[in-house]
């Protein structure tokens, strides 16, 4: 087992829990919700104080367990499990603090025209101005096929028993177990990403492109531009995350699992890093997408107040 994997593993074991405990507070601080209404602002300030106190207490709890707590096994200490405090910190304090930004609530309606009796829409087909270029699809399909081929090619070689070795992270396995692992990974990879690629143009990319973009009756280039920026940003990020990064990461992990069955430790480290990075990226895409929507709502409110609606039928 290479030395660096041991080092990364040790860093993860020590750093995982405090990083998870700090993540909700860091997210709130980075997003800097700025509620405009007095009630919302007061609520936000209370939640932020509670979050800071809860985070400090959780870190103290982690420190106590880290220095004096029990070891659950040779590698995992009780302190490691305090990383799961992320969920209550996020659900109880961070998420409500972010949501207290009242402009985010307004983005939840399916059509921002709701409430208006005059409805205006563009006649430009957004599928034709998709930011996903045809060659992007070539990349996504190539990653899928290459990964599938790499995993599948393992079937050309015999599955032989591997013995227990001194390194505790490697386990012994019979050839039959390795065969079942291979077939299981091959079928699940082919199915999951095959289905994802098949439904992506309509269900993932299509849904992002056809998200409601109601215009103002008087028309506004600024609003159309804001929609375009949000749409392109969301669509591209969804594409790279779900159709490139995810299949590439899992393809690599599955490939390692079938070709290097002794290196479970390396697979575990890469899996945890890939999973954490993917999860954080996904969360950030969602949060930043909401912020972009809230900016559009603000812009619409400003424009709506400045102009008196009147019917038009220009393109």
């Amino acid at each position: 087992m290479p030395q660096w994997t041991n080092l990364i593993e040790q860093l993860l074991m020590v750093g995982f829990a405090p990083a998870m405990i700090l993540a909700p507070l860091i997210t709130v601080v980075c997003l800097r919700p700025n509620p405009t209404e007095q009630d919302h602002r007061l609520r936000y300030q209370i939640l932020l104080k509670q979050l800071i106190i809860a985070t400090v207490l959780s870190l103290l709890f982690w420190a106590v367990l880290f220095f004096y707590g029990p070891m659950l096994n040779r590698k995992i200490s009780g302190a490691f499990l305090t990383g799961f405090l992320f969920s209550p910190l996020w659900i109880k304090f961070a998420a409500p603090a972010i949501a207290s930004n009242n402009s985010i609530d307004a983005t939840n309606s399916t059509s921002a025209n709701t409430g208006n009796t005059t409805r205006t829409a563009s006649l430009v087909n957004r599928h034709r101005i998709s930011p996903i270029k045809p060659w992007y699809w070539t990349i996504a399909i190539s990653i899928y096929l290459i990964s599938l081929l790499a995993i599948g090619a393992r079937g050309l070689y015999p599955f032989v028993n591997i013995e227990n070795v001194t390194d505790t992270s490697s386990v012994g396995a019979t050839g039959q177990m390795l065969f079942y692992r291979w077939i299981n990974l091959l079928v699940s990879y082919a199915f999951i990403f095959g289905v994802m690629l098949a439904i992506a143009p309509k269900k993932i990319i299509g849904a992002s492109l056809t998200e409601a973009e109601p215009l103002l009756p008087q028309g506004c280039e600024q609003l159309a531009q804001a929609y375009k920026e949000r749409r392109d940003w969301t669509t591209l990020n969804l594409f790279w995350l779900l159709l490139v990064m995810m299949p590439a990461t899992l393809g690599l992990l599955y490939g390692l699992m079938v070709w290097q069955p002794r290196n479970d430790q390396l697979v575990g480290i890469l899996g945890s890093i890939g999973g954490a990075v993917g999860g954080i990226l996904g969360a950030w895409i969602g949060i930043l997408g909401s912020r972009k929507r809230s900016r559009i709502e603000k812009l619409k409110a400003e424009l709506g107040l400045q102009n008196t609606p009147q019917a038009t039928n220009g393109i």
């Binding site: 025209n113 409805r119 006649l123 087909n125 409601a212 973009e213 009756p217 038009t312 039928n313």
Partner: protein
């Protein structure tokens, strides 16, 4: 852009058809132009999918639009398919104009204003044959 009024007594589907026909007549929607998908237009306007689908279908039946797999809904003609003899079309026009003029008179709009509106609209439509 297309605009509809929810509080209008005219049904939404008729408003959509009328707006799209108007855009085609004015040349703002030319032959070969692709319309947004039913889902997109319904979402943007905040109305039912079936309302948009019905409007598209009616214009397709009239020979103005076509729906092709992979290409969406496209404008194929700026002239409606003949629906009966020409005299019948003229009869329909006379009838709808009579209704509109009667509405205008009852609403207290002067003849000069009506003539100005008529002139403006004919100029818009015949400027882009």
């Amino acid at each position: 852009m297309i605009t509809i009024l929810l509080d209008s007594p005219v049904p939404l589907h008729d408003q959509l058809v009328s707006e799209l026909r108007g855009l085609i007549a004015q040349g703002k929607l030319a032959v070969g132009d692709e319309l947004p998908s039913v889902r997109q237009l319904a979402a943007d306007l905040g109305i039912n999918l079936n309302t948009v689908a019905r409007a598209y279908r009616e214009l397709t039946d009239a020979g103005l639009l076509t729906s092709a797999r992979g290409r969406g809904t496209v404008v194929i003609s700026s002239v409606e398919k003949g629906r009966g003899p020409k005299s019948l079309s003229q009869q329909r026009l006379e009838s709808s104009m009579a209704g509109a003029l009667a509405d205008a008179k009852i609403a207290g709009i002067s003849l000069e204003v009506i003539q100005a509106i008529f002139k403006k609209q004919t100029e818009i439509i015949w400027k882009n044959p």
